[in-house]
């Protein structure tokens, strides 16, 4: 993983670049996260809706129950008030304008004050003027009767509980009963009572309602709201709303409220709850869900990290072993002690490593054997060429020497033919000597190790031309020299190439009146081709395949001297340096020899 080519790494997809060990936990993390978010959100929505619905239902039920309780508790008081209003003494008292039954009425009114919360009982005539009262002082004179008695002055049955009034710190209300005689309204009985709620009662109610839920009791027309202790401002009036949910804001906090009218009264109860409170269960669920999701995520990541580690660690081991094998250490095996896919892989790997190891050893043995054989063959070849150069030349020297001696010592006794024969022996012996020399230099060049360096071709060729010109002083050659680029090659070998090519050009153009030799280089597709061109005898392209063979010649010895080694040597050198050599010619029109290196 650490030795992959960066360019390759950059070319693969981002996901495929990462280590599996990091990738797997990451993917699992993403998967878990998405799942938990989806489930958590759905559950939260469900729970929130349920909680909201439950809270609303509860508020409505509470409001109705409380309203029912108030209604229920009003029933006996209303009944007793109605009964008192129907008392004949009251009727006669009112009909007689206070002349009859005054004592009975006074007793009745006193009786109607059941306990200390009942502060006054009034008897009014049809005009709303007080005809009698249990107490002298009355603080309710200023109130309009129409606001106390619904439907006043026409209502026939006014068995209702009035609105609540506030005076000082206390709340008051009246229970009202109409007094009729033969279907005609003749007066009203008003029983004033102070609203009293003991601390215990209030606490009991609030316990019943639950946290943050508040009960308000007030007037149906919204003119007053109380929390059973004091008046409360800022609550919605909403007259006419009954058995319904409303929402409102108080101190910029949203509240949900259920309002229900209290029957037989002018009251209304309202149970409120902050909206935030309503969503409390959902929020608590969310908290638990988030914390357990985090825990699960951590556990999931740790587990998948361990799992991916248990996969990637053996893979790393395999990769390390494979890399060592690639570097040539074939003794590598990987012991994983597992029976799953990775175990199978490691086993296959070990088998492969052993196979490679064996093959490698075999190959090494074969190579070593072949090398020994090759070295042996080389040695033999060296010994052979050494022996050829010594032993073949010695008798030749003798042949040439004795033929010379024959001419020198016995020239007088030899006739012309004898002298010609002796000369032929000397010439041929020298010729064979030249052949042997060429053959040896040919085999030596094939063996020579090449040393590639930057070679200044221009300088080299000028030197070669100067050397060769000196060897053929008898003829005036014209050289056309073009600029030659430098070349990366073996200095000695390339010099031999130039020597042979230029020498050939000079040799085969030597019969022209004005031999012209052109040396230059062409550039095609970034490749440099060096050439030597002459205006000599040329050659027939038909025989061009014979040009570069060892001892192959296109001219007779008496036309041009030579052994047929020169071009073979050039070919061998150019081939050895992965170059190419070509020749073009036409009989009587000269030849071009060109070479290039890739």
């Amino acid at each position: 993983m650490k030795t992959i080519d960066p360019a390759y790494t950059a070319s693969v997809h981002l996901l495929k670049r990462q280590s599996i060990q990091r990738k797997l936990p990451f993917l699992i993390f993403i998967l878990l996260l998405v799942m938990m978010l989806a489930f958590g959100w759905l559950s939260y929505i469900g729970i929130r809706n349920t909680a909201e619905k439950a809270a609303k239902e509860r508020l409505l039920i509470l409001a109705q129950q409380l309203a029912g309780m108030y209604t229920q508790s009003a029933v006996p008081v209303l009944n007793s008030t109605r009964a008192a209003a129907a008392n004949p003494a009251v009727k006669s008292f009112l009909l007689s304008a206070g002349k009859d039954s005054a004592v009975e009425v006074d007793q009745l009114l006193q009786k109607l004050k059941l306990d200390s919360t009942w502060i006054n009982v009034q008897l009014l005539n049809a005009n709303g003027q007080e005809a009698a009262a249990s107490n002298l002082s009355d603080v309710y004179d200023s109130l309009e009767l129409s606001s106390i008695i619904p439907g006043y002055p026409t209502a026939a049955d006014t068995g209702v509980v009035s609105r609540i009034y506030i005076k000082g710190e206390a709340f008051y209300y009246a229970i009202c009963g109409a007094v009729t005689d033969k279907g005609k309204l003749i007066g009203y009985l008003l029983r004033w009572r102070k609203m009293y709620n003991s601390k215990e009662n209030i606490e009991r109610v609030s316990q019943l309602l639950g946290k943050q839920v508040v009960l308000y009791v007030g007037n149906a027309d919204g003119s007053l709201w109380s929390d059973l202790r004091t008046a409360v401002d800022g609550l919605p009036a909403t007259p006419g709303v009954d058995k319904a949910l409303i929402t409102y804001k108080r101190n910029s906090r949203p509240y949900l409220a259920a309002q229900t009218l209290v029957h037989n009264t002018q009251w209304k109860v309202m149970v409120t709850m902050p909206e935030a409170n309503m969503l409390q269960p959902a929020k608590e669920f969310l908290k638990i869900a988030i914390s357990s999701a985090l825990l699960l995520l951590i556990i999931g990541i740790v587990l998948t990290w361990l799992l991916s580690r248990s996969i990637t660690k053996p893979l790393d081991k395999l990769a390390i072993a494979a890399r060592r094998i690639a570097k040539g250490d074939f003794s590598q095996t990987v012991e994983l002690k597992r029976a799953d896919e990775l175990g199978v892989l490691s086993h296959a790997f070990n088998v492969m490593a052993k196979e490679v190891n064996d093959t490698q050893k075999n190959l090494e043995a074969i190579v070593a054997k072949r090398t020994t054989q090759l070295e042996q063959a080389n040695k033999e070849l060296e010994a052979f060429s050494y022996s050829v150069s010594h032993d073949l030349r010695a008798p030749l020297r003798a042949v040439s020497g004795y033929a010379t001696m024959l001419r020198e010592d016995h020239g007088t006794t030899l006739n012309e033919d004898g002298k010609r024969i002796a000369d032929a022996i000397v010439t041929n012996a020298r010729m064979m000597g030249q052949l042997i020399d060429d053959l040896i230099s040919f085999s030596r060049i094939s063996k020579k190790e090449t040393e590639v360096q930057e070679v200044n071709m221009q300088q080299l060729v000028e030197q070669v031309v100067a050397e060769l010109k000196a060897q053929r002083p008898e003829k005036n050659y014209r050289f056309i020299m073009h600029a030659l680029p430098v070349c990366k090659t073996d200095q000695l070998l390339i010099k031999q190439v130039w020597l042979n090519l230029v020498d050939n050009a000079m040799k085969y153009s030597s019969l022209q009146d004005q031999p012209v030799i052109e040396i230059g280089a062409t550039h095609t597709n970034g490749k440099v081709e060096y050439y030597v061109k002459d205006n000599g005898v040329g050659f027939d392209m038909k025989y061009s395949d014979k040009l570069f063979g060892v001892f192959q010649r296109l001219h007779r010895q008496d036309e041009f001297e030579g052994t047929g080694i020169g071009l073979a040597l050039v070919k061998r050198i150019v081939d050895r340096q992965n170059g190419s050599l070509r020749a073009e010619g036409k009989v009587g029109e000269g030849a071009v020899f060109a070479f290039s290196f890739s």
């Binding site: 020497g401 001696m405 012996a429």
Partner: protein
Amino acid sequence: MLEEVEILLVEDNLSDAELTIRALNKAKIANNILHLKDGAEALDYLFGKGDYAERDLTKSPKVILLDIKMPKVDGIEVLRQLKASEHTKTIPVVIMTSSSEEKDIVSSYRLGVNSYVVKPVGFEDFAKAVGELGFYWMLLNKSINHL
């Protein structure tokens, strides 16, 4: 044998030996040439052993013409022993060989050879080379002895 040997020729090939002697004759420096036929004989002569045990070792040849490729002891070995001995190392040695094998040339010069000549096939060239070398080294050796 009584006369002082001026040129010691060590050469196993009799034809080459004859040609060399003829070449030296032509160059008029053929005084007292001793031809020995192999390296072993040359060592015996130079260090006074075997057949040459009686020889006066104070008299050394003025130049040794030494062939390389010889049976028994080759020219390189003879050269090595010559140059290793105090009393023979000043004698100029000219290696004469048929080959221009690089390893021969390198080992000869490493051992301190004075000249190295590849015997050409053509006799004219051969005679010229031998004559020039023999002459040069005999003259030089004379001048050293006279100093």
